[in-house]
Subunit: 242 residues, 2 copies
Amino acid sequence: MSTKCKNCPLRQHALFTKMTSDEVRFTQKFKKGELTIDAGTPLMMEGSNSPQLYTALSGMGIRYKTLEDGKRHVVNFVFPGDFIGLQAGVMNEMYHSVDAVTRMTLCVFDRKELWSFFRNHPERAFDLTWLAAIEEHFLGEALAAVGQRSATERIIWAFVRIFQRGTELGLVDQNRMPLPYRQQDLADALGLSLVHTNKTLARLRDRQLAAWSDGYLTINDLGRLAQEGDMTLEPLPTRPLF
Amino acid sequence: MSTKCKNCPLRQHALFTKMTSDEVRFTQKFKKGELTIDAGTPLMMEGSNSPQLYTALSGMGIRYKTLEDGKRHVVNFVFPGDFIGLQAGVMNEMYHSVDAVTRMTLCVFDRKELWSFFRNHPERAFDLTWLAAIEEHFLGEALAAVGQRSATERIIWAFVRIFQRGTELGLVDQNRMPLPYRQQDLADALGLSLVHTNKTLARLRDRQLAAWSDGYLTINDLGRLAQEGDMTLEPLPTRPLF
DNA sequence: CGAACTATTGACACCCCTCAAGACCCGTGG
DNA sequence: CCACGGGTCTTGAGGGGTGTCAATAGTTCG
């Protein structure tokens, strides 16, 4: 998997903004290379202490926690550009697992090198904190959705956020974007049963609000969908410029 | 409210570890003072962009998001030592509100000064990121609890975490700690109705597992409680030393 | 002494979960 | 080629956990 890695996320994705050429040179050092893994491969495991951090270059994954009684909660869907392993980087342990859902290619970094990088480039450390704050914001919204919204509203909430994210990433074409997960994954993310999720999806499809089948999500009128789900269509948070 | 502020959290709470005397001197500069507010006072508002950050010195508060349809989700209970406003500090906006539930005294910082502080003391910037990661960890666990656990299990989960936190802060005396919230607050935190929360609390009381009344939470056997709630009694995450 | 707030309890309804069975798809192996 | 198994999606039936409504009691405060 050796490449020039022109589109290494260190240059372009949200984490690193306005890098100086000196910094870019520096990053070459701790980028260890690229990694490609097949669909279904576990990338990080709850309780482990991986010395590596990743950013997703392509493909999709899933982030989840496993409860004591075996139940699973899906915390997040991993999309290209996402940073993986920040927790293990800062704490000494991962508190959720990450699996590949499709074949994925990842940028690999060494944890220790990353710290020295931030030590030498304090401006960049802010980017990391910003990333963590974004995560926090998302989790807070998810918590509120799972806690307060009905099944239909939860699914609509998830679809709207996913679609916004997909638009941002250029994955949407003709009101349609790839979403290669199982209904069970969505159910586990929203705290719903598989059966009820299925029936709710069918209802959304019948009402022409959103159709998710064969790994593709189609939404013709995002505004109408959001309205049906009692949510205002705010843009995703963006990186403030200092 | 002028005081010497010997126990300013900049010196002792989790955020700042092992400060050099130089750093301590520096922090004096951006600490703007102390603030005391009465019970019920809003401290930060969703959508606002407060130029101030706080850490709670004493008293308790509540962090919540308000949904479009007026429902409220309680994200977290604010205890002494907690940092308030990190999100507004990093993003340009708060995405949840914070109210005082009892009379609170707070340490006030200036947002801008804080950034320059971290710029000049990169080691300390890591502390901030660590704080954000802790928040993320907590929210992930809350999300999984609300998504996957039954009403009884959710309440047990909340009680165990609160009691652990209280123990850490030295608030527990004779298996009893102050918890000055309403049942409605807990209900809104766990995605339950007030009535069902009340009945579940009564059942826990009858079974001698946990009693919460008159603003005090009593747990005689934390291990047994955790066991009844299908959770393993792990210690709260602690700051790794580098 | 009434107003406002919170806790408590009962009755009832319904959303959502569980169980179960079938359909469809795809791989593998006989 | 077809049989078979595993995985996912789909649909129906029934039950239980939880929400909603409503009324009472206790407390605080003006």
